[in-house]
């Protein structure tokens, strides 16, 4: 498969995954599960920035962040800033993250999730919106639990040549 064709396929897959992710973000859930909605788009972007960092990095994070801001009725720029910061870290260290064993990667993902929710919490605090800190644990834990599953599913649909084959 040529490089261009591969890029196009990945772009299409990313588009579809993005739409699915946004749909899952919008979809209404029963009252009991409201505080346990995973951060689908964050997981998708982390996956992309680790495995296809050249194609998908900060620009995508920023745009998806703005869309989530509008969906959630948050301040414009809140999720955009947060996602940009997280995806910067994952893109910067994507080579290390790729070779991590799965358990170690899980631990790192937990750190990213904590950082993500901390920045959101912090911006809310600066803006004077009082939020309960325990509301932030639900999505963190569910996102963490579904990370390996979404990772497996996503890695089936994207095509990437490992750097070794290129040389």
């Amino acid at each position: 498969m040529s490089k261009d064709k591969q890029n196009n396929t990945n772009r299409m897959v990313a588009l579809v995954m993005g739409i699915i992710g946004l749909t899952l973000t919008i979809i209404p859930v029963p009252q009991a599960f409201v505080h346990f909605k995973p951060n689908w788009i964050l997981l998708l972007l982390i996956f992309l920035s680790i495995n296809l960092p050249k194609q998908f990095n900060l620009g995508y994070a920023f745009v998806f962040g703005l869309i989530i801001d509008v969906i959630k009725g948050a301040f414009l720029g809140q999720h955009a800033l947060t996602l940009t910061v997280i995806i910067f870290i994952t893109t910067k260290y994507h080579l290390q993250l790729r070779i991590f064993p799965k358990l170690q990667l899980m631990a790192i993902i937990m750190m990213f999730l904590v950082l993500y929710h901390f920045i959101l919490f912090w911006i809310n605090g600066v803006a004077g919106i009082s939020t309960e800190i325990q509301d932030y644990w639900g999505p963190m834990i569910t996102s963490w639990i579904i990370w390996p599953i979404t990772y497996e599913i996503m890695s089936r649909y994207f095509v990437y040549a490992t750097p070794k084959k290129e040389v």
Binding site: I26, P28, N57, F75, L76, L81, T84, T91, S130
Partner: protein, 277 residues
């Protein structure tokens, strides 16, 4: 040679640090401007229009189940439901008769007092297209926007009482804040004796705070709180909540009072927008 090869192998991301700086600065500019003024409504609007198809698509399953529900229901159930509704309708219209005469009486009295009448407000029914998009805030999105003449601060009701008010308007949709949001305050009065106070949301759908009731005030469990119309946003006389908890602590200056909202804030699907006169 080795170094060169190594360099080739390593997939470098072009201008990562520059990008970070640009996007972070951009986000900060957006964040600061979004809170201070309204320049950004065009950006917010265009994104909202772009995601409107998604929001409506998400609604399809629940609309389908509604539709199937209607088709599949047996004839007997429908007849029974119809009978119930008819009897309910009779009861309602008898109450309404009294209401009409009261309204006329009120009108006459007001004419005598030379005051403006505001009893017959018109409403427009609208559908909630998404709820709980943000678990930290109690907001909903409805399917009417600027196109339909919705404006910021417009009042939302359901069949029982006040639900909230419009927070942002987009072209096709608008976002409303519920009275249970922890940032929402609503001026009310006790229907029984006209004692004025404020109802604050606290993030719970079934409980509102009523602070600042002095320890010697006349308040009882079951008292109906109605909008007082004092803030200028909500018209007066719409039911809001019923007092369901009073605790007096003599060392404090105020009673601890909470009230249960009359509208089912987390169960409604159709809400009514109060039209300006």
């Amino acid at each position: 040679m080795v170094a060169e090869k190594d360099n080739q192998r390593r997939p470098r991301i072009p201008a990562l640090n520059t990008k970070l700086i640009i996007f972070v600065v951009l986000s900060f500019i957006l964040l600061i401007n979004d809170q201070r003024n309204n320049y950004l409504s065009i950006l917010r609007n265009s994104i909202a229009i772009a995601i409107y198809p998604l929001q409506s698509a998400v609604e399809i399953p629940s609309r389908l189940t509604d539709w199937f529900d209607l088709r599949i229901k047996s004839k007997e159930i429908l007849i029974k439901e119809n009978q119930n509704l008819l009897s309910q309708q009779k009861i309602n219209s008898s109450i309404l008769q009294r209401y009409e005469s009261l309204e006329q009486e009120n009108e006459r009295l007001k004419q005598i007092l030379n005051a403006a009448s505001n009893l017959d407000n018109k409403v427009e029914i609208t559908r909630i297209i998404s709820v709980n998009v943000n678990p930290y805030r109690h907001t909903i999105v409805i399917d009417k926007g600027e196109r339909d003449g919705v404006y910021e601060g417009q009042v939302l009701l359901d069949a029982d009482g006040v639900i909230g008010q419009i927070l942002h308007t987009n072209f096709l949709t608008s976002e409303a804040i519920l009275i249970s949001d922890s940032d929402h305050a609503l001026p009310v009065e006790i229907n029984r004796n006209g004692l004025r106070t404020i109802v604050l949301g606290n993030g719970s759908y079934t409980k509102l705070d009523v602070p600042y009731i002095p320890n010697n005030a006349d308040i009882e469990i079951g008292d109906l709180l109605v909008t007082s119309g004092l803030g200028g946003k909500f018209p007066s006389g719409y039911p809001v909540a019923k007092v369901d908890f009073i605790e007096s602590d003599l060392s404090e200056q105020f009673y601890k009072v909470s009230a249960k909202p009359i509208a089912y804030l987390n169960q409604v699907r159709e809400v009514m927008l109060l039209q300006p006169e």
